[in-house]
Subunit: 324 residues, 2 copies
């Protein structure tokens, strides 16, 4: 569909930049509904973005991510940062309760006008979730929030996709969750820039840290300087300051080495290509499919009167005939 | 690229159907490299597929999936089924060791010519993994293996994508892994058709089963008859027969209700569309991008001399001009 000008957006943006959180919320809602498809909006946001440091926080369930996020926000608030928090609840209807519980702990933060907290959930639409999340980051960035924390709830398919939206990924683990080191292996360990062992007052914390160290050493793709591993107890508010400082230092290093810009460019490219491919589907593929839809062929496929792969070839040919 | 005829494929297929496992392996390797892009091959396979019952086995690490798979295969072998096993290791270089360990336990099965075991791994290429897996299933199906078990290792992003390749999903849990019920929530619980509580001899097994029952009751999307929850101890080979029978019964029900065909058709459509979109990218989008690549614009984007979303619009316009 064509993108109509939305006259009030500039005004919303101006109000958001002055700290009007309702304006921020309205802009994010708009992104959530339209994604980057709302081009006029994304174009307007662009000039104001690129300042915020976006931190992804992930790890197995029960690692205390929410409490940690809560403490980190409070520490950084002392530095007068304006902070954005996006709490992502991946897909499942079952986690609905959990995330509410988490957010309750943040209620006191919600009163702080220097903090914007937003919960996001989806029904398994992976690309959709990370796109909406990325859009929300742009809004918060444009409104001067920095850092922006993206906290994921649970271990799930959306995890890595959402973490791709962050500049830096903080992986949280805890002792005594048995196989959890195992659990955070798949895909998560590779993307960690800083590692935290939470509940470090519990027995086995050192072992958990050692295991992490060993596994990070095993990673062939890991660059020369290994990511820091910090012990803390968010619940008792111990080691949170050191963690926050270490995250800020990491950002400084990434800036100097230009790694930060490289990641952001890669992310921007992926986002734009995803948008283009989506449009390509709607404008180029869909019309051809309407003429010879899959559904009309399925019985012939199953009866072996027609071959599905020949059908797919045919669809491609029709498209290519139209594109010299 | 054009798909050259592969003269020896028909011969490989014939040999695979006679039980030559080396021929089966060669065909799967070809699918793994080419995916559905190897159209000639997929076309040739099609007429021979659609008989195998494809079972996905998933659950948190430490749930004993491999042992369970091992026992199930042995039980079904008594019924003279020819069985295919695909062990999927999602992405991480870290899990390399684990899966070898798992496979060792299956060594005695490897000697059984009525069983074909294949390990699959990837470096985070989600679509790639499920496509390769789906191709391997087609090969095994065409060679007369039924059932085909797809076992995933660990909890990760690939989990749900891979499970989409299966007709029926078996979700395994165990007592005492603390937050694991939590851990399997995200995306997995929704797709479970049969649930197993393994290590049922451990304390807390009943509680785990109850928790599952409650959460399945909470699922609004769940259809009228809830999925069965079975207790077993794979290690002690207790309850495995009941689990296998229950899985077979479930398949019978799905066949009667036509649910099985509905799922297979949905899967086929998704697979074909993924293939078409991949081709669309290569044949339609790529040429346009070459003329005005993202990389050449990034500095102008960052300097706010050019707007990335305007660039994306431009790319789309160029494509649409070429497609009346």
């Amino acid at each position: 569909m064509p993108h109509k000008e939305q006259p009030d957006f500039q005004e919303l943006l101006a109000r958001g930049q002055e700290g009007d959180r309702r304006a921020v919320g309205r802009m994010i809602s708009r992104v959530e509904t339209n994604g980057v498809a709302d081009h006029v909006m994304m174009r307007q946001l662009w000039a104001h973005t690129g300042r915020a440091r976006v931190i992804g926080i992930t790890g197995p369930p029960g690692a205390g991510k929410s409490t940690m996020t809560d403490r980190m926000v409070k520490y950084w608030r002392k530095k007068d940062y304006r902070i954005g928090v996006i709490a992502v609840d991946p897909s499942s209807p079952f986690t609905g309760g959990a995330i509410l519980g988490d957010r309750v702990r943040m209620n006191d933060l919600a009163l702080d006008t220097g903090v914007y907290i937003r919960s996001m959930s989806t029904r398994g639409q992976l690309g959709g979730l990370s796109l909406a999340c990325s859009g929300a980051v742009s809004v918060l960035d444009a409104c001067g929030y920095d850092p922006i924390l993206i906290e994921t709830v649970g271990v799930g398919q959306s995890e890595v996709a959402v973490m791709n939206v962050a500049d830096l990924v903080l992986v949280v683990s805890v002792p005594g969750l048995g196989d959890d080191i195992q659990a955070i292996k798949a895909g998560i360990l590779e993307i960690g820039d800083v590692f935290a062992v939470n509940k470090a007052d519990l027995p086995g914390a050192d072992r958990t840290a050692r295991e992490l160290q060993i596994m990070l050493g095993m990673n062939p793709d890991m660059n020369a300087d290994p990511p820091p591993i910090l012990m803390l107890s968010a619940e008792q508010n111990q080691g949170v300051d050191a963690l926050c400082d270490s995250v800020e230092n990491r950002f400084a290093l990434m800036q100097d080495s230009n790694e930060l810009m490289t990641r952001r460019n890669r992310r921007l490219e992926k986002e734009l290509l995803a948008y283009i491919q989506d449009r390509l589907y709607k404008r180029v593929l869909a019309p051809v499919l309407i003429a010879d839809p899959f559904a009309n062929n399925i019985e012939a496929f199953r009866a072996n009167e027609r071959n599905p792969y020949t059908w797919a070839e045919g669809i491609m040919k029709k498209i290519e005939e139209r594109t010299p």
